[in-house]
């Protein structure tokens, strides 16, 4: 602790740092008191505790959605370029401030639940099947994976990654889907952002009917 730095009394009039490179950011509108759109968005996003869609942001700021979207992307790029400790990202259907991954080591000393239990292979595979097939019955997931998935599905539900989604009209089987939390964990805007399954999968026309037959064979209690 023998650093040469004094315990500097905080200077109330600390001058603006002339070396700061970020003076050209387009945030300041310069038009009197009225804040710029970018500043208004920043202010709103400061108080949200869940992702906010650009449509709602457009309503509140009374600006066209396209303009709002452009401003959001502009801010996000601005933070990235400046290497700020936070980033603005579209996740799970909306925009939200996140701490930057490179700063994770510091943040995690404050955010206690930062370390989430790792998912097993079994859980990840089951999650993948649910994600691409939702809404899907447990029996169907079992048939695709070739193993009983009851335990894994329970784990996924208790982790808030999968939830019930009504029941199948014909069979009455409970159906499952992925949650918003799943999107957040993967950093996806929506399920439509999932990588294409097709490159990994040949044409499997008719396979589902066959799997249904297998469902009946193997899913019997």
């Amino acid at each position: 602790m023998t650093r040469p730095d004094p315990d500097l009394p905080a200077d109330p009039d600390l001058p603006a740092d002339p070396d700061l490179p970020e003076q050209d950011v387009p945030v300041a509108a310069g038009s009197g008191d009225e804040p710029s759109l970018a500043a208004a968005l920043e202010a709103i996003l400061m108080v949200v505790d869940e992702p906010v869609g650009e449509v709602l942001l457009a309503q509140v700021t009374e600006r066209p959605t396209a303009e709002v979207l452009a401003a959001l992307h502009g801010l996000a790029a601005d933070y990235d370029r400046a290497g700020r400790g936070f980033e603005l990202r579209p996740v799970a259907g909306g925009w939200r401030f996140y701490s930057r991954a490179t700063c994770a080591a510091y943040v995690e000393r404050f955010v206690l639940d930062g370390q989430q239990a790792r998912l097993t292979h079994a859980a990840l595979e089951t999650l993948a099947v649910v994600a691409y097939r939702q809404p899907v019955s447990r029996a169907r997931v079992s048939a695709i994976r070739g193993v009983n998935v009851d335990g894994v599905m329970r784990t996924l539900m208790s982790r808030g990654l999968v939830e019930e989604a009504g029941s199948d009209r014909e069979s009455g089987a409970l159906l499952y889907r992925t949650t918003v939390h799943f999107l957040e964990r993967l950093g996806l805007r929506g399920v439509d952002e999932l990588p294409e399954l097709a490159p990994f999968l040949p044409d499997l026309t008719g396979l589902d009917e066959r799997l249904d037959a297998i469902d009946e064979t193997t899913a019997a209690p």
Binding site: V47, H121, G146, G151, R185, L207
Partner: protein
Amino acid sequence: MSEGSAGQTVSVGAPFQVHLGAVFEGPFDLLLSLIAKHKLDVTEVALSKVTDEFIAHIRAQSRGGAQWDLGQATEFLVVAATLLDLKTARLLPTGEVDDDEDLALLEARDLLFARLLQYRAYQQVAEIFARRISAEAGRHPRSVSLEPHLAGLLPEVLLGLGPEEFAALAARVLTPRPVPTVSMAHLHSPRVSVREQAAILVMALRRSRTSTFRVLTSDCAGPLLVVARFLALLELFREGVVTFDQVSPLGELRVRWTGSEDGEVGVTDEFDGTPMESTDDPT
């Protein structure tokens, strides 16, 4: 049953696994690993080439004295039977399709093949999921309480429920979800001898000449016995005293006795040695 690595958070109904250095979850996982191990493409050839090893791993599993979940064991058996069929077909002089049985075999092969490819696709996507999740883990969302002056602006909250409805809602939330499977963890697996089971099968088949797997296992008290009978059947098949056929994929597995009317049938006791590092076998 295993190091528990695939089921670290799954306390009930832990998945059925087979050892091959690593832990496998399900027949497709095992098959794909075997195919990868031999640096084969996923083809029909690969399927028939890895058949022996696949069966060997089922054997090793049973030798471990592990408990078998019937639902999961079934999948292994279905795949094992299909693989055996494929292998048998390749041993035939020609690959020509000349009767319904061959057609059914082709269909079974295609189905197995398609399911394997489908499973592989999800396995690959699961890897992408894992990468995304770990990339995402370093980011933390801002999720803070409202600044006090803003919280004061919030309109009076509307519950929209009366006390009775609220109680009903609470009851629903507090009711434990039905547990979909019954834990068998408290059951001890009795020791089952494949050789003994083979003897039972030989008696039954000599009497009836033909039968089905379902009938042959109808008196089995538990999944372990079913598996032991299946393994015994494989042994008998190896001894050349039974043949299998299956009219439709996943349909009834028919067993026909082709051995002698009497005399000893030599079934090895390789399954019946001392259980390996079994933790759940009380012995």
